[in-house]
Amino acid sequence: MIAENLPALQVVVPLLAAPLMVLVRRRTFAWLLAVAVSWTALAIALALAFKVREAGVISYAMGSWPPPWGIEYRVDALNSFVLVLVSLVASVVMPYARTSVAAELPRDQHYLFFSMLTLCLAGLLGIAITGDAFNLFVFLEISSLSAYVLVGLGRDRRALLAAYQYLVLGTIGATFYIIGVGLLYLMTGTLNIADLALRLRDVHEMRPVLAALAFITAGIGLKLALFPLHFWLPNAYTYAPSAVTAFLAASATKVSVYVLLRYYFLVFGIPLVFGRLPMAEVLIGLSVLAVVSASLVAVYQRDLKRLFAYSSVAQIGYITLGMGLANEPGLTGAVVHLFNHGITKGAIFMLLGGVSLRVGSTSLERIAGLGKTMPLTAFGIVIGGMSLIGIPGTAGFISKWYLILGAIAHGYWWLAALIVASSLIAVAYVWRFVEVAYFRAPAPAAAGLAEAPVSMLIPAWIMVAGCVYFGLDTGYTLDGARLAAQVLLSSVR
């Protein structure tokens, strides 16, 4: 019974756990349930991934209404990879969140916080698993609305402004997406994503389809912070509570990238998007701008959270770059970078949560001598930074390697050189941290600083270990990404 219903349970377990936390109103219960739910979600995601590799695509009919009429949950190599990433991040962040949240939020809000975080998890998992374009919109709203609340809970008053900015732009994004879906529905009469792809081939009136493509690109582009639609991201990541930043940075934008991948390659199809339209050039151009400009901006930041938030914009640029290359190594690089960047940024933001807990701030002036006062935290951030740069032996190297292969396969040598050169800018911003943390004496006020609490260090270091592990043993991530890339390219006939 459980085995057949795994696709539904993937979403339903967190979705129903969230109101249960509100009903019980106990913070310890809420936290325990959140941890249990995220681990269950990870187990389900792994089971689904295993099943997909064994037996191919899993289709699940919600309410036993057969697709394409009913809502279908459809798990393939691409979204099972995303499901594993999101639930993996959640299952590490949830145990971490207890100490971090206890320090940053008033006590009476704790159960509501965990309820919101679980709801956000449910929304993100739902976006990834559903095979229905409108259902995807509903989950997009569930995850986004809870994300706005979570960002707004930050203890800095500016968090409210950041949440409001995120809300306005996020809502515009969601509205654009649904306008696009409406146009597609107008032309095909179906909302099932797989069915949509089939029927779109018989549509000859192209103007509404092109408009739909434009709306979906702009809408999802806002959600994934595609350059130049990234203005909400640095503020949201900087002022949100630490656990929220770690969770959102590692999962929310990645899921949006997945949505764009699915629409470009499996709904509109490569012949339209990359053949008739110059989307490859547009994507590569914007991605290069994102990588270079956001990295440069990151170099000049004074606050570490903001620095790494800009670095996220740059790293998302690498992912969309792989998408624009639209060949197997490029897409493999893009998909594997979803995962690698997810765990890298998760690790860094979790460690920064420890810094903000002990130091009271993440600004560069205040963390002088962090290598002495909080050695484990500082060293973890350095490893994460190395993965951002893409030093061999870290996860980031694998993705960049494949992106370079993808660029060379197209004969874009300049692009390959640019990817390497842009890593040097990453060296610059990571070096700023290293210099302040290791080569400056701790301020006298920082003398009594202790290492971050163990309950935060262990989950954070699991992520740091992941950055190294997935850089050395690429069996799971690369195979998964390669299979996903093959799914994406399978629509070309």
Binding site: M1, A8, P19, M62
Partner: protein, 143 residues
Amino acid sequence: MTRDLVLRVLGKLLIPFVLLFALYVQFHGDFGPGGGFQAGVIAAAAVIFYAIIFGLPAARRFAPDWLIESMVALGVLVYGGVGVFGVLLGGNFLDYFVLAHNTVHGQERGIFWVEVGVAITVSGVMLKVFYMFAGRQRDRDEE
């Protein structure tokens, strides 16, 4: 609390009928316009009407904050519970076909409880929003 006698008498007269109408809209939703969302809004409107005429503290005595917050969560759980019940009876999630001896009755029973869940959450959310706006200055003064 307003001192206007006409409003207070009319309010007292109308509120039971508004609540009754909410129930009508709720249960007649299968056959006519209506359903859980509308019924939930109408029921919440009755309480808001009461709060406007007799004051927020009176309304809070009738529908306390903890109850409202629980309603927000409970309705979602009822809705989701119907889905889980379908799984327990051997169907898919949100499978109403298996809820009764034949499929038509199963669909009726499924949608009935789903609409109950919707009504609970919607009226809970409406009242929560109203309480938060209406009680904003008041709650701050108490602190």
